[in-house]
């Protein structure tokens, strides 16, 4: 299979907190609100469980976009988790931007358990963005690319 012929199918990892965003994704599902199958969700207890190393790891292994979703600030199940997550991600994304990684490849969105619509809209717009950016060539282990 030659590279040129291959249709670009992005790999997108979504980290969702158990209490709000994962439930929001469930609601999107039960409401049959579609979004592309390129998105795969990993359940974490809280957005503050997401280590920047996980995000870099995803890119290293060939992810084209990574999105993290959590409870809205102030609504965290653990009361303060997403506040820490917000600072960590802001700094990490800023660093990735600084070394020249397209900034659209990373995103944080706050999605409550009631926001199935927002979840699906968020994923649709994120996937669209990743399609427009194309394959992630600046980060990633080239051995993982085929």
């Amino acid at each position: 299979m030659s590279l040129e012929n291959k249709e670009f199918k992005p790999k997108i990892v979504a980290f969702c907190c158990n209490w709000c965003s994962y439930a929001g994704a469930d609601l999107a599902g039960s409401s049959r609100l579609t979004y592309p199958a390129d998105v795969k969700i990993i359940r974490v207890p809280c957005s503050c469980r997401v280590n920047p190393m996980f995000i870099l790891r995803a890119f290293e292994k060939g992810a084209d976009g990574v999105i993290m979703c959590g409870c809205h600030p102030g609504d965290c199940h653990y009361s303060t988790g997403n506040f820490y997550a917000r600072r960590r991600m802001t700094l990490l994304f800023s660093m990735l931007d600084y070394i020249g990684v397209e900034n659209g490849r990373t995103r944080v969105e706050w999605v409550s358990a009631a926001e199935g619509v927002k979840f699906s809209e968020t994923m649709n717009s994120f996937v669209e963005k990743i399609y427009s950016l194309g394959e992630n060539v600046r980060l990633g282990d080239l051995r993982c690319k085929n």
Binding site: G29, V44, P45, C46, R57, H77, Y78, S79, Y84
Partner: protein, 662 residues
């Protein structure tokens, strides 16, 4: 290597219509560690669970993945099924191929591919799962209620009625709280003392309730089910056991200049005092700041007149240490300081008073014995102006950004009571909005207007100007008539914003209970867990959680009691095993994790370690798994990766990432 079983559910056609389940089973066989894979119509059914149990036993599974609906739906079901078949329930992982896959994708090939990837991620995770055992911790069958107002009293009575021991800690010399200072209550206008006093008596007479008045919580340690609390019993200088409450000491005390806290400083009291007549306990305290004996060493009148010999000048503060299973915070509120509101002339004129002061003025036991009179000259007022929202709904630092909730109703009550008792007095209320959501509340307010002729003007007051003749010139605006109003009044009453008792900050810190920017205690969930603090074992009762009127406070007090009873009824607590653990060999002891833990679950201990032959004592983080709720904030804050979360470990999540990006 794990022996993993994969169970793919059709969920009728919910999954099977979009995902090729047999293909998923086929792909499962190719994954490392998988020794069994099958699909079935409904995995959650009795028959489905039986299949799982059979596979666990026949194939000696050490882990399993169910590809089905959301774990939020059936994770518990499958974990229980696994446990019954002898597999540790935490060796079960769910691949959500319904909500996150079959329901949102239409193309079968695409959905099947995704389902396979989700399954692979779950298998990769299960490969790294370890059996977890929920911990157990014991429950001390005793509750502590901090604050002896109506909220604390109600909570204590409800818990005690369920058969559990309760201690109330109250800072002032008597229980009763703010409600004891009120004259009448809305919307029924019954006398506050008449409904409160029986409750106070009931609490004090209850065999399961023990009341510490004139006492404060000094130190709290421990965790849900097993708190240890130090209570400081301040020296009363009066022996509680000997005192008969005859009151002679108060009568004879020569020092009578101390401002009365109960009457909001509107009059004075003696140095040895009970705050009010119905005080419980009916034992006075000596205010050592005001007492002549304590200031000069001479006097001792009270000791001489006390026939019971109860006066004890030598008494010292005493620390009582007690264990509790649950703690209820009921610290209540105070009115805000009006110092920064020059324009209302509160500190310039005695005739500008707060609504709480008006309660005392209207009360028969108050400074004016219930006569409505000006505090400056004792004259009967003819024009009274009420100003609403003083310090509430303010975005600047002079006031509070929130609505204090109770002011609209008590102002209507005051206006109505005055018009009822003194029909010749004109009452004007300047309001921004009249907020009356509550049973019979709007009807109450309408009665004030329609039946009692209270003059409501929409518009805030800009300035109150004391006049040389003692009158107060009120300059306000009428937004409906679009005109500015100048009104001469004899008395101005300010509906002052309420704020949480300032002590709550100290208490919240001790309890590691979180508070918001306005110092109100935060609830575990704004809608679904409104009487619990995010810190396990801490419950919230009354205004410490947010502005409330009496019925709401009592309702919340009961709810807090039920939650506390629910906890005390258990002999042991099973703790969530998905907690953080620190690796003794990796931990730096740097305290970073402690700083982000919302539950105060992390402490540090000097531990002897053997690091590949190097024996030394190191400062190591220790997680109290009874307190840890498993958020994982510490695991990311930890620079060395020593802190990890069981059930969501770094390697597990990385394995999922790798599986998805494969």
């Amino acid at each position: 290597m794990q022996r993993i079983g994969v169970f793919v559910c059709h969920c009728g056609s919910n999954i099977a219509a979009t995902v090729d389940v047999s293909k998923v089973v086929e792909m499962a066989h190719m994954e490392p560690g998988v020794v069994h894979a099958e699909d079935y119509q409904y995995m959650c059914s009795e028959a489905g669970q039986a299949k799982i149990a059979a596979a666990i036993q026949e194939k000696k599974l050490t882990g399993m993945v169910v590809c089905s609906c959301s774990p939020r739906m059936h994770e518990a079901t499958f974990r229980k099924a696994a446990e019954r078949a002898g597999l540790n329930p935490y060796m079960v992982e769910i691949a959500n191929i319904r909500e996150h896959c079959s329901w949102i994708h239409k193309d079968m090939e695409e959905a099947t591919k995704k389902a396979v990837i989700l399954m692979r991620a779950a298998i990769a995770k299960v490969n790294l799962n370890a059996p977890l055992q929920p911990g157990e911790s014991r429950v001390t069958k005793r509750a502590l209620v901090i604050g002896g107002g109506i909220a604390g009293i109600q909570t204590a009575i409800d818990i005690a009625d369920a058969g559990y021991e309760v201690d109330i800690v109250e800072k002032t010399p008597s229980i009763g709280g703010r409600m004891s200072q009120l004259d009448k209550t809305f919307p029924t206008l019954d006398c506050s003392a008449c409904i409160l006093t029986p409750k106070m008596v009931e609490a004090s007479a209850h065999e399961k309730i023990n009341i510490y008045t004139y006492s404060e919580v000094e130190k709290v340690s421990g965790f849900v089910g097993d708190f240890t609390v130090d209570i400081r019993k301040k020296a009363r200088s009066v022996d509680m056991d000997k005192c008969t409450g005859c009151g002679v000491c108060q009568e004879k005390c020569p020092s009578k200049k101390a401002p009365s806290e109960f009457n909001r400083g509107l009059n004075t009291r003696s140095a040895i005092y009970t705050p009010f007549a119905q005080a419980i306990p009916n034992v006075p305290v000596i205010d050592r700041e005001a007492c002549i004996k304590f200031k000069t060493g001479k006097c001792g009148v009270c000791s001489k007149v006390c026939q019971a010999g109860a006066i004890d000048y030598e008494q010292k503060d005493e620390i009582v240490t007690e264990k509790y299973g649950a703690i209820v915070v009921a610290t209540g509120f105070d009115t805000i300081n009006l110092e920064k509101y020059d324009e209302y002339a509160y500190s310039q004129s005695k005739d500008v008073i707060t609504s709480l002061e008006l309660e005392r003025v209207m009360n028969a036991a108050g400074p004016t014995h219930g006569h409505l009179e000006r505090l400056s000259d004792g004259k009967a007022p003819k024009e009274i102006v009420f100003i609403q929202c003083v310090g509430s709904r303010c975005s600047d630092d002079r006031g509070k950004p929130y609505c204090s909730k109770i002011c609209c109703m008590y102002t209507a009550k005051h206006a109505m009571l005055i018009r009822d008792k003194y029909p010749d007095v004109n009452v004007t209320v300047f309001y921004i909005d009249v907020r009356t959501p509550g049973k019979n509340f709007d009807e109450f307010y309408r009665r004030a207007v329609e039946q009692y002729g209270v003059n409501y003007i929409k518009g805030q007051v800009g300035k109150v100007i004391p006049q040389p003749d003692g009158k107060l010139l009120v300059q306000g605006s009428d937004l409906l008539d679009n005109k500015q109003i100048l009104k001469e009044a004899d008395m101005v009453v300010l509906a002052t914003a309420i704020e949480p008792n300032p002590d709550v900050r100290r208490i919240a810190t001790m309890l590691t209970a979180s508070i918001d920017t306005n110092n109100f205690l935060t609830e575990a969930h704004a809608k679904l867990r409104p009487v619990e603090s995010p810190t396990a074992g801490i419950f919230l009762s009354g205004v410490c959680q947010g502005p409330k009127d009496i019925p709401e406070t009592v309702a919340q007090a009961g709810a807090a009691a039920v939650k506390a009873i629910g906890l005390l009824a258990k002999d042991k607590l099973l703790t969530n095993p998905c907690t953080a653990q620190s690796d003794i060999l990796l931990c730096n002891g740097c305290s970073t994790c402690e700083n982000v833990c919302p539950y105060g679950a992390i402490t540090y201990e000097d531990k002897e370690v053997n690091d590949h032959g190097i024996r030394e004592t190191r400062r190591i983080a220790v997680v109290n798994s009874a307190l840890c709720q498993g958020c994982g904030a510490c695991t990311v804050a930890c620079p060395s990766g020593a802190m990890d979360l069981q059930g969501f470990s770094n390697r597990q999540i990385i394995a999922e990432v790798d599986a998805i990006c494969r």
